[in-house]
Amino acid sequence: MHEATLAENILDIAIDAARQNHAAKIFKVGLKLGELSGVEVEALTLSFDVLKKNTPADAAQLVINRVPCRATCNKCGKNFRLERYNFFCPDCDGILILQSGRELLVDYVDCE
């Protein structure tokens, strides 16, 4: 999708956090990206590497954690790892409510 927009937002969030903590240099930016978020990691890294030039994040690396899709049944309450995006409960006739897998988060910034 729109990886350049995401990279721009990530950079803004990281630089903002570094500035608020009086840090001059960013080493790592940790991300949590859900399986269902549709982010193309290569395109995101490329955009980030282009945009970070001449900023405090010049030497920063993206550390990406993919978050699997998990869902809870609205009837029996059981928790499942989603396979093939099937939102019908495998154990009863309930419907699965997504608990994780849509994350688009800046988890942490490593800086000094």
């Binding site: 969030i13 903590n21 688009l104 910034v109 800086c111």
Partner: protein, 215 residues
């Protein structure tokens, strides 16, 4: 030092979307975000929808395209107020674009605002614009494998329109498997089979839409 943030990458957009949603609720206007691939028939479906609804409710349209005002010109011919947004290459509409476009609309004089998003099955699903619900158009010629290939947009939508249903006999599109895939992704989704050339399903669809605006 490590600073823990857990900040949503799209939070800037989501904040504006929340403002839009509040604004729409205060003005009592229902907003539908209409999405689908380029060529799936979104604009034709919209023309047919407007023709059936303009004597019943007050509607305006926001058209999102990369370039040109071709779609806005088509909508204008139905007599409905329309605003064209050109994203100049951008793959989706965002909340700020909608906020700005709404400055030129009299929301108090509307029951329904339809936003036709940029043709794309990926990005529009991720960007909240402050709508009440999303609708996705999937045309028969795109293939029955699309729901599982682009799951988020079907997961996020309240309604799917299987459009160009008149072309079914000429393709290998498996209607049963497409309906099953859409439903497993989103068990509460409403599915309509429509054809804008033959008229199939259009009355049912517009009736459903009309009921949504009465809420």
């Amino acid at each position: 030092m490590e600073i823990k943030l857990m900040k949503n990458i799209l939070s800037a957009n989501d904040e504006i979307a929340a403002q839009n949603r509040k604004h729409f609720a205060e003005r009592r206007v229902i907003v539908m975000n209409l999405m689908g691939s380029p060529g799936s028939g979104k604009t034709t479906l919209l023309e047919q929808t407007l023709t059936r609804l303009t004597d019943k409710i007050r509607i305006a349209v926001i058209e999102g395209d990369l370039f040109t005002a071709k779609d806005a010109e088509r909508i204008e011919r139905t007599g409905v107020d329309v605003i064209q947004i050109n994203t100049a290459g951008g793959c989706h509409l965002d909340a700020a674009m909608i906020q700005k476009a709404c400055e030129s609309l009299d929301l108090d004089a509307l029951d329904l605002l339809i936003v036709e998003n940029v043709g794309n099955l990926v990005c529009p699903a991720e960007f909240d614009i402050g709508e009440n619900f999303k609708a996705v158009v999937l045309s028969i010629t795109e293939g029955d494998d699309k729901p599982l290939k682009y799951p988020l947009i079907f997961k996020e939508s309240a309604v799917t329109l299987l459009n160009k249903i008149d072309l079914l006999p000429f393709t290998n599109f498996n209607l049963q498997s497409a309906r099953r895939d859409v439903s497993t992704l989103n068990p509460t989704i409403k599915i309509f089979e429509t054809s804008c050339t033959r008229g199939d399903g259009l009355n049912d669809w517009t009736q459903w839409l009309l009921e949504r605006t009465a809420i």
